[in-house]
Symmetry: C2
Subunit: 344 residues, 2 copies
C-alpha cells in the first residue's frame, strides 16, 4: 500500500475512527465502515463521531459508509476495528468481498469467550485466504486522534508483513515498532483489561501506589507465565503491547475497566455497575477467558483467579487481596521461566 | 536473625525510618542510626521524624542513636539506608565495628558518580569481610511506614542469603520476593530516577498518557539493553525493582525526580529548580553515570542521552522528544537481546 491508495477501516468506534485519522494523515484514501447507517450518516455530515470520539474533527479525506462491499472494494489494507465480540461476524461478512492480496490488520483487543481464541486466529478462520497482522499498543483513541505522541506495535510471525503495516501507519506522532511474536502481542492487549479491574479495586480501596506498582508487576509476571505456556516470548510482555498497555490501562483515567474496578472496591455490586454504562467493560468477559486459559494450560495465575472470583463468585475484594499478600514466599522469576531463558 | 535479636538501620531518612518500622513490626530490637545528633535526639524524644517522614509515629521498640559503634554492636543485620552519595563513607566507618557474620543489606538506590559502581559493590569494597545483599522495589517510604500493602525484592547472587533477608522483612503488608540477579536489581533502582525526570518532562509539556506509556516502555527496553551488556538478566527488569519501581517513580505523585522533570518541561532552568529544594534530585547525578555507562558498554540508549543533554547540555525538551519519535524504524526487541535469549 502506498499513499494515495484506498484503505478501509471496519468499525467506527473510537479506535477505528482514530486509526482512520492516522491513515488519512499518512495520505491514504480512507473508507471508514460503520455498521449502523445512522452513525455513518452522522459522521459523514457533521464530520464528528459524537458517540465514540466527541470533539475531534474527522478530516474530509475520510469517507464513511455503512455498505461493507463498497467499503472494502479495491482496498489494499483492511483494518478490523470492531469490538472483539463482533469480530468473527464482521470477518465472515468480509470473506467473499475482500480484494485478493489485501493486507488485513486486526486492531481489536480481546479473546473470544467460547473458543478462547485470539482475534487474529478468529479472523484467520473466517478469512482463510488473507494475510492477517496485528496492531496493538498503549493507545488511547482520543489521544491518537488528536495527534498526541504515541507508539504502537505491528505484529506478524512474518517479519516482512509486520514491516508493511509499520510502513503504512508510521509517522512522527504515531511511532510503530515491529514484533514477530503475535501470540504475546495479542495476549498482552487482551489480559490487561482484566488487570485494570484489579487496579481499580486497589484505587477504590485506597491501598496506595506501592500496592498499585506491586500489583501491576506481579500481573505482568503471571501474564508472562501464561504467555510462555502458550508459545509467546517473555520479553514481548515487557514491551508496548504488554507492560506499556497494562500501565496505561491501570493508571490512565479513561479506562472503563478501571472505573468498574473502583466501583467494586467501593462495595458496589457488579450488575449495578454494568447497568450504569452502555460501553462494554471488556475485562469482565476476559476474566472468564483468562481463568479458563490458566486452568487449560495449568499455569499459576493467582491474581486472575482472585479477580475472577470477585467478579463472578461474589468474593470480597479485601479477602482477595489478603490471600495474594500472604501467599508462600517466592522467587521473583519462577524456575520455569528461568529454564525457558536457558533453552531459548 | 530471629525476632527479639538486635538489628540496625543506618540512615534516618524517610526510607531508613520506614524500614525500621517494618523491622520493629516483625519483632526485632531495632537501632536506628542518624548521623546528626539533633535528628537522633528529636526522633527519640518526639517519636516522629519531622523532616523525612512527618506524621508517622515511630514505635517505642525503635531506639535511635548517633553513635555508630553503639548502633551496630551485637547486631545480626545491618541495613545501609544512607543516600547513595554517602554510602561509601558510612560503609568505611562501619568497617572495624561490624560484628562478625552480620548480614549487610543495601537499601540505597544509585550509582557512584566517579566509579560508576553499584551500591553493593561500594559497600563490598569498604567492608570486604561482610555478606552484602540488596533490598529494592517500588516502595514509597511514607506508604511502607503507614503499613500500606507493599512488595519488594531481596537480592544476592547467593540464593540462601537472599532468602535470609526475605525472612527478616516479610510480613502480610511487606511482601518480599527473592532474585539472584543483583546487577539487574540494582541497575533498575538506580536508572529509574533518570527516566522519572523524562516522565516529568512529558507531564510538564502535557504530551498525554500514550506518550507516557510509550516513554516508560522504551525506557525499560534500553535499561534491559544496558543490563544485558553488564551481565544482568532481562526479565529482572520486568520485575519489581525494574518496571515496578519505574512505574511508581514515573506515575507516583511523591517523586522529586518527576517534579524536577515537570519544571524542566515547563521551561525552567535546572539550576533554578535545584535551588528550590534541599532534597537530593538523585536522577540528575545518575543521568551522568548512565550516559557514561552507555558509552563504556557501547549500548544504544537514546532516551538516556536525550535526558542527559536536556539536563547537562541545555538541549530543549521539545527537540529531544522529536528526535526520539523520528528515529529509524525499529523492531521492538533488538536482535542482540534475541540472541541473548537463545544463548541463555
Amino acid at each position: 500500500v502506498r499513499p494515495g491508495e484506498k484503505v478501509s477501516v471496519l468499525g467506527a468506534g473510537g479506535w477505528g475512527t482514530a486509526l482512520s485519522i492516522v491513515l488519512a494523515r499518512r495520505g491514504y484514501r480512507v473508507m471508514l465502515w460503520a455498521r449502523r447507517g445512522e452513525l455513518a450518516e452522522s459522521i459523514s455530515v457533521t464530520r464528528e463521531n459524537p458517540i465514540y470520539l466527541p470533539g475531534v474533527r474527522i478530516p474530509e479525506g475520510i469517507q464513511v459508509s455503512c455498505d461493507l462491499e463498497d467499503a472494502i472494494r479495491d482496498s489494499g489494507l483492511v483494518v478490523m476495528a470492531a469490538p472483539s465480540h463482533g469480530i468473527r461476524e464482521v470477518a465472515r461478512m468480509c470473506r467473499g468481498l475482500i480484494p485478493r492480496g489485501a493486507l488485513v490488520v486486526s486492531a481489536s483487543k480481546g479473546l473470544e469467550v467460547d473458543t478462547l481464541k485470539r482475534m487474529s486466529q478468529v479472523i484467520g478462520e473466517e478469512m482463510p485466504s488473507c494475510m492477517v497482522t496485528v496492531l496493538s499498543g498503549p493507545n488511547f483513541a482520543r489521544e491518537v486522534a488528536r495527534g498526541k505522541p504515541t507508539a504502537s506495535v505491528s505484529s506478524s510471525p512474518k517479519a516482512p508483513l509486520a514491516a508493511l503495516v509499520q510502513d503504512a501507519f508510521m509517522d512522527p506522532m504515531f511511532r510503530v515498532y515491529t514484533n514477530t511474536d503475535v501470540i504475546g502481542v495479542e495476549l498482552g492487549g487482551a489480559l490487561k483489561n482484566v488487570y485494570a479491574i484489579g487496579a481499580g479495586i486497589i484505587d477504590g480501596k485506597d491501598m496506595g501506589l506501592n500496592a498499585q506498582a506491586a500489583f501491576i508487576t506481579r500481573s505482568l509476571a503471571e501474564m508472562i507465565r501464561l504467555g510462555v505456556a502458550m508459545g509467546a516470548r517473555p520479553l514481548t510482555f515487557s514491551g508496548l503491547s504488554g507492560m506499556g498497555d497494562l500501565v496505561l490501562t491501570c493508571f490512565g483515567q479513561y479506562s472503563r475497566n478501571r472505573w468498574c474496578g473502583m466501583e467494586l472496591g467501593r462495595g458496589r455490586a457488579l450488575e449495578d455497575i454494568l447497568s450504569q454504562t452502555r460501553m462494554v467493560v471488556e475485562g469482565v468477559r476476559t476474566a472468564q477467558v483468562a481463568h479458563n486459559l490458566a486452568l487449560l494450560h495449568n499455569v499459576e495465575m493467582p491474581i486472575i483467579h482472585q479477580i475472577h472470583a470477585v467478579l463472578h463468585r461474589g468474593r470480597d475484594p479485601e479477602g482477595a487481596l489478603m490471600d495474594l499478600m500472604t501467599r508462600d514466599k517466592k522467587a521473583e522469576v519462577d524456575a520455569g521461566i528461568d529454564s525457558w531463558e536457558a533453552l531459548g
